[in-house]
């Protein structure tokens, strides 16, 4: 019972993590400490739910206040990705429906091999580190960390586009082999091109990620 009440009296973890992520490093300790202190005072007055709501409100509003300053690059990166995906979806929809652009075998031919090539050319840890650098947008790493992160996205993007070209060519060879059945050529051509589309989409995302890391590395001494 006592343990349960102690656990309940802890400030909401997700809210604290959100705030830690958004705050500048030197403010994490005083700000979270202040919030924790006031939260416990509120929770002690048998107003646990109100205290939790209050903590969430403080954390979200404060995070919003600092997010653009500390994580502005990451926020812009996410916004650009959402915009890119949204516009791509719209283009597909206008062109005749999204379903004709979805082909699971083509997805499997591009993404898993490209990720495997990136892991093989660098290492699994470097791939994880590249994603973490991109998420946290921390401009205080060593130059070699940025270089290895850039390499991860470079290999991933290039492997994606090259795989797309290769798979498309394989598809065209198959189309050529059955050219006597004209009715099959259209759908087969369409599917074969999809791998190139997926590869190109992956390359675009990796290019932006690579440039983002380049910017971070240039801001390192800022």
């Amino acid at each position: 019972m006592k343990n349960a009440s102690l656990t309940d009296n802890q400030p909401p973890t997700v809210a604290s993590k959100l705030l830690s992520w958004a705050l500048p490093q030197y403010l994490v300790e005083p700000v979270l400490g202040d919030l924790s202190e006031e939260y416990l005072q509120r929770a002690a007055n048998n107003q646990l739910l109100k205290a939790k709501l209050w903590y969430w409100r403080q954390a979200v509003k404060s995070a919003m206040q600092f997010m653009l300053k500390t994580q502005g690059g990451f926020v812009m990166f996410i916004v650009s990705i959402i915009l890119f995906l949204g516009l791509t979806y719209m283009a597909m929809d206008i062109a005749g429906g999204v379903s004709m652009y979805v082909d699971i075998p083509s997805v499997l031919l591009i993404f898993p091999p490209a990720i495997a090539f990136a892991c093989a050319a660098t290492s699994i840890n470097q791939v994880k580190s590249a994603l973490s650098v991109l998420m946290v947008a921390d401009a205080s790493k060593q130059p070699q960390v940025y270089r290895s992160c850039k390499r991860v996205f470079s290999v991933l993007g290039n492997a994606g586009i090259l795989l797309g070209v290769l798979m498309t060519l394989i598809g065209w060879v198959a189309i050529g082999a059955m050219a006597d059945d004209v009715s099959m050529i259209g759908p087969a051509f369409s599917v074969s091109i999809l791998t190139l589309v997926y590869g190109l989409a992956l390359k675009i995302l990796c290019y932006v990620a690579e440039q983002k890391i380049q910017t971070l590395s240039e801001n390192e001494n800022y």
Partner: protein, 113 residues
Amino acid sequence: MQQQEKFLGEFEQFLLLSILKLGDNAYGSSIRQLLADTIGRDVTIGALYTTLERLDKKGLLDSHMGEATPERGGRAKKYFKVTAKGQHALTRSKRALTSMWENVALSLLGSTQ
């Protein structure tokens, strides 16, 4: 040159005055609570620290890290103190406001004050 210095904003003045009132116990949470109790202004901790940081950069405040306590999850407090420059800026702003209020008559609901 002195005349071109900007005056403090309303919230900046509230913060500096709170810190002066709290003396050695001026840190984020105590400042926030004083503002809520005294002028009924419930500010977020983010807004508070944004302004405190700005005042610190202007040299109107000094800050130092204090002790960590269990009720703060083992985190240290950041104490603030108004510098001489901060006190001077407050005095200037108060003087400017007082001068502006001189000979001002407000007419409220038809009556003259």
